[in-house]
Symmetry: D2
Subunit: 197 residues, 4 copies
Amino acid sequence: MEKPSEDLHGNAPDNSSVVLLLVDVINDLEFVGGEILVEHALPAASKIATLKERLRSAGVPAIYVNDNFGKWRSDFRHLVAHCLDDDTRGKPIVEILKPQPDDYFVLKPKQSGFYSTTLDLLLEYLGAKKLILAGLTGDICILFTAIDAHMRDYQLILPNDCIVSQDMNENERVLKYMERVLEAEVKPAEQIDFAKL
Amino acid sequence: MEKPSEDLHGNAPDNSSVVLLLVDVINDLEFVGGEILVEHALPAASKIATLKERLRSAGVPAIYVNDNFGKWRSDFRHLVAHCLDDDTRGKPIVEILKPQPDDYFVLKPKQSGFYSTTLDLLLEYLGAKKLILAGLTGDICILFTAIDAHMRDYQLILPNDCIVSQDMNENERVLKYMERVLEAEVKPAEQIDFAKL
Amino acid sequence: MEKPSEDLHGNAPDNSSVVLLLVDVINDLEFVGGEILVEHALPAASKIATLKERLRSAGVPAIYVNDNFGKWRSDFRHLVAHCLDDDTRGKPIVEILKPQPDDYFVLKPKQSGFYSTTLDLLLEYLGAKKLILAGLTGDICILFTAIDAHMRDYQLILPNDCIVSQDMNENERVLKYMERVLEAEVKPAEQIDFAKL
Amino acid sequence: MEKPSEDLHGNAPDNSSVVLLLVDVINDLEFVGGEILVEHALPAASKIATLKERLRSAGVPAIYVNDNFGKWRSDFRHLVAHCLDDDTRGKPIVEILKPQPDDYFVLKPKQSGFYSTTLDLLLEYLGAKKLILAGLTGDICILFTAIDAHMRDYQLILPNDCIVSQDMNENERVLKYMERVLEAEVKPAEQIDFAKL
């Protein structure tokens, strides 16, 4: 359409060099292995919620980077409603991490949040340089997203108590990998020094 | 997250070699020049609605490819509601072209529907080879989207009574340009031969 | 491979907010219509060479953004050699615009210099904000590249005596289009005010 | 430029559902750790050369997907010459794996062969469905490239005697990871059943 003003194409209202990415936390977990994953994800969800609040107070925006679950027609709010209303395995996690009105969201069709989505452009408009990644699973969607972020020169902070996988040993190995190869800062959420961000 | 099955990453339920793209029809038109554009867009909206119904009967899916209007937090259904409920200039058009439950939608941050969106991947999963473009404006978002489609080897069909711009002479020139350079088929909607699609 | 140091992945030695893009000037012009195009391109080539020299003195790098002509195996220097040694229609133009050792080059498989190439990343590493586009043809590869540059928020400067098409009336119309829609600065090369770049 | 014929934009002469990607084999290895890597890479180079010959006989094309080593001005043949002529650590490997005239090549600015390159489009034009990855290093550039290939729905074959890293234990772990998560077929080169490809 006609470009009436700068507002209509691509501007984001916020500006922040640090951004929190919440990966696949809006999730019904209704798949094989979901019953194990939920046990790891539930305590992490509380840690993530605390981190999100601290970051919000510090003016750091959050982006829900979430699977579209093959449902290209649905939207994000529909996904939230499905997890809550249909009494799914993921319900207690979604209750803890329910998006607030000023959160952003990006639906991803594949594992990496950057592949075939608008995430990179949104981060550019936000002025992001450092990304804090939290959510599930550490060994797949977090890893794929972190690799893509690293190639785009974002610095990575990985709160290891906010990232889970079905196999927590593999989760640990992949966190070490990301520390070594992606130069990610890996530490518990409460040790993230906001003054230095 | 864990990849429980093929369903969760990228599959689309439909399969169709022809796809209808509705560009920026969900639009409040509340910008300078919008009062002129609405006069061209309203009769076109009826033609588009008729075309969309014919295509639906033939099993051709429709994708709303729509500006996010700088509001990265909003979703598509919210955008539809805003146009309808806030009594905007675009309301009569949106009433005619209100999305149906099985329509797809892609929010674009810039003029081309392919830039920084998942459109290309969705079209690939649908098996699309030919794209019918309709909406506004012919000389900007339709042109940009058509150029990107051409570079990706999609064949283009442009129903010229379903594409409008603020300046209809420029609209005409750009349609001719797309016919010449992008090898687009340009003709009134009712002359599109569905048997040959 | 192992990442031994920052040097190996993506660093560019230069830094410049202005960059000159030379579009499809290394061209044998051995196609239908090439005999007309060469007549428009030859005088423009001299203007481009002068502009390139002035920009070089001012520290502005040049990137040859050039068709690979469907020959994915060839490289850029091979293409230059072909145009010169095989006594092609494009030879006099290539002689005038022969690349120098410190010029960059990007081979593009399609019309836009940004599509399926590394151009955007190279420009980011160079720190480019403004692009000066010169070459051929104005109504196709220059237009497609300019549209993609505009969506990526680059400012555009189009020296109209350095841009040619087969049909020079169409060339003129497309330059006006880019002035209106892409907010490009269109003027003769010698009127580009280097102090203000 | 003008589009004279279909030949000039994007066509590739070959057609093959299987393609061999040689990752970072043209490499001077002149970096910290290169002296260890060369010991693992040299025996692998012979295996890769044998595999490449077998595949060539079967009509499977090879693409050198290689770091540009931060030298955006250089081209691939220049890189080959540097490794050979400057008596680098990588010389014996490059001698074994010297590209032949009908090999393709893609220079990548970062670790993944798909990021900011034309690889995906080239593979599409070749009609590739299955990719055989060989080269270095397994735990970085091969992994990043394999992840991107998997998201693009390519099937992966990883000849484990043709893939090396500085730390061969980590190489082994990453191969297992790719088998599990990317559904890659991991086996010695000579066990790849060409009849079933």
